[in-house]
Amino acid sequence: MSHGPSASGGATLKPSPGHHDAPHEPVFTGATRAALDELITRYPTKQAVLLPALWMLQEARGWVSEAGMAEVAALLGITPAYVKGVVTFYTMYHQHPVGKYFIQVCTTSPCNVCGAEDVVKAFLETTGCGELGVTSDDGRYTVIEVECLGACGFATPVMVNSDFLESVTPDTVPGLLARYQ
């Protein structure tokens, strides 16, 4: 939730051209639909599966599009506007396509005092992204700063998609990235 006069954080994603125009193929069919229906049985309301449904959507498409939100809204009996309100509240749903590898570097104070800003620099340089929130020209990487990842004793924690890496230093960044090509 970036807002107000200090909205200077690095978490804002910058939309990249392309991708957006592809027509939306429904996600909730077959096994995915069955998985969603099973989830619904765990709660007294349908709406309670909104966060899980958005996760499934993002897993299938790499990001959460407006058409995808509309599909979820129809399934759960809520409005697309309501779904968008929820999507924009949470930082982990991508409202634009991102690089093949989405890299989140923790820079909150506990990691900051251990040199996390240098880790960010190393990622921006080695990936060629240059700037936070921008996807590299080859579409491979997007780097953002993230607020506390909850692994402060293993500074600096970094997430690459769903991989959770610990104790990353500027020196280990090139070796790590070699695993994500």
Binding site: M1, S2, H3, G4, P5, S6, A7, S8, G9, A11, R42, Y43, P44, T45, Q47, A48, V49, L50, L51, P52, L54, W55, L76, I78, G85, V86, F89, Y90, T91, M92, Y93, Q104, T107, T108, S109, P110, N112, V113, C114, V146, E147, C148, L149, G150, A151, C152, G153, F154, A155, M159, S162, D163, F164, E166, S167
Partner: protein, 438 residues
Amino acid sequence: MGYPHQPHPRESLVLSKHFGTPEARTLDGWKKRGGYQALEMALGMDPVAIQNVVKESGLRGRGGAGFPTGLKWSFMKIGDGKPHYLCCNADESEPGTFKDREIMRWTPHALIEGVAIGAYAIGAETAYIYIRGEFTEPIERMEAALVEARAAGIIGPNAMGTGKTVNVWVHKGAGAYICGEETALMNSIEGKRGNPRIKPPFPAVAGLFGMPTTINNVETLAAVPHILVNGAEWYKKLGRPDNPKSTGTKLWSVCGNIVRPGNYEVEMGFPFGEFLHEVCGGALPGRTLKAIIPGGSSVPIITLEEAERGLMDYEGMVAVGTMLGSAGCIVIDSAQSMPKQIARLARFYAHESCAQCTQCREGTAWTTKILERMVAGDGTAEDFDTLLEIAENMTGKTICVLSDSCATPVISGIQKFRHEFEALITRTTVHAVPVVVA
């Protein structure tokens, strides 16, 4: 994924005894270590009797507020004909805190057992473990353990063959610190924006899906099986004899500029100075410790001297001007700029404000903007008064305490490290002429 450090001889291992032992993650491995005896015992007890044991033990909430757990459970009216819910708060996002993550990574069955006992004790047939979305490994570990526990009939519609229903589900968050606030957490499970709710009504009256609900932290629930098996008297003896208000052991997450960061489990009331210097190895070579934030970023910053006088329990931390909080201890040394780190904390809160209260939405943002300007060398002498006035207006005036949490490091930081801020100002504006910022 990282392994924990070797335990220090002065630690008291109860919750963390099996951290680092992969076998303890499996159902068989957990049972070999005494797992699920407490649940079996609990399901044969009257729920109120369980509440009373926990009350008697003195266990208090480990998420930050320190509310007595048994008392909280007793607010749930058993047999009122309504569905009850237990929410386990595993949204661990308080900067400096990473203890619940280790409980879930290494001993997932310990948490399931605690959750199942807690649910039964409050008359709930359904419990949700709300885990922050970034915790991919803890989510995997918990899901795998839940599959095992369901398959073995330990939880589910006929838990341990008793005919009692205890369903436990994981609910994955999606990136929002505020969802660790209990009413925001409930909104998030309901598929809403994670805005905190106005209290009253309190969750025990109208909580998740409008029904009576209890929210407990991971570490709190993980302690419950030990209390049931070993007894309230055993638990009460852990801690300093002159302070019966803080009982048991506490997991401390230690991070920042210290030789051996990691999770440590010590009895309540352990001497903080010895803990920092001896157990955690003290300052890095060639550096000295300067500031300690002992309970996660939302508690007042204290100096090393104050910390060295402190005792590590709820009252001991208050006595040195801070709070135990979530026991996420951030250590800051002489090589760091306090204004820079305080500005960084303010930015954290500005980013995480849900923005529904004006004081918080505007206050966190303006605090950040002013602090970042000071750090950039464009501060003025008036900034101190402005920051403190904003902080005053952010304290005790909002729906939840995120706003207060942003004001806390600003107030304590200026109070204790004002010279560092002043050094930034005199460097550029000798006579403190106000600078107009667009």
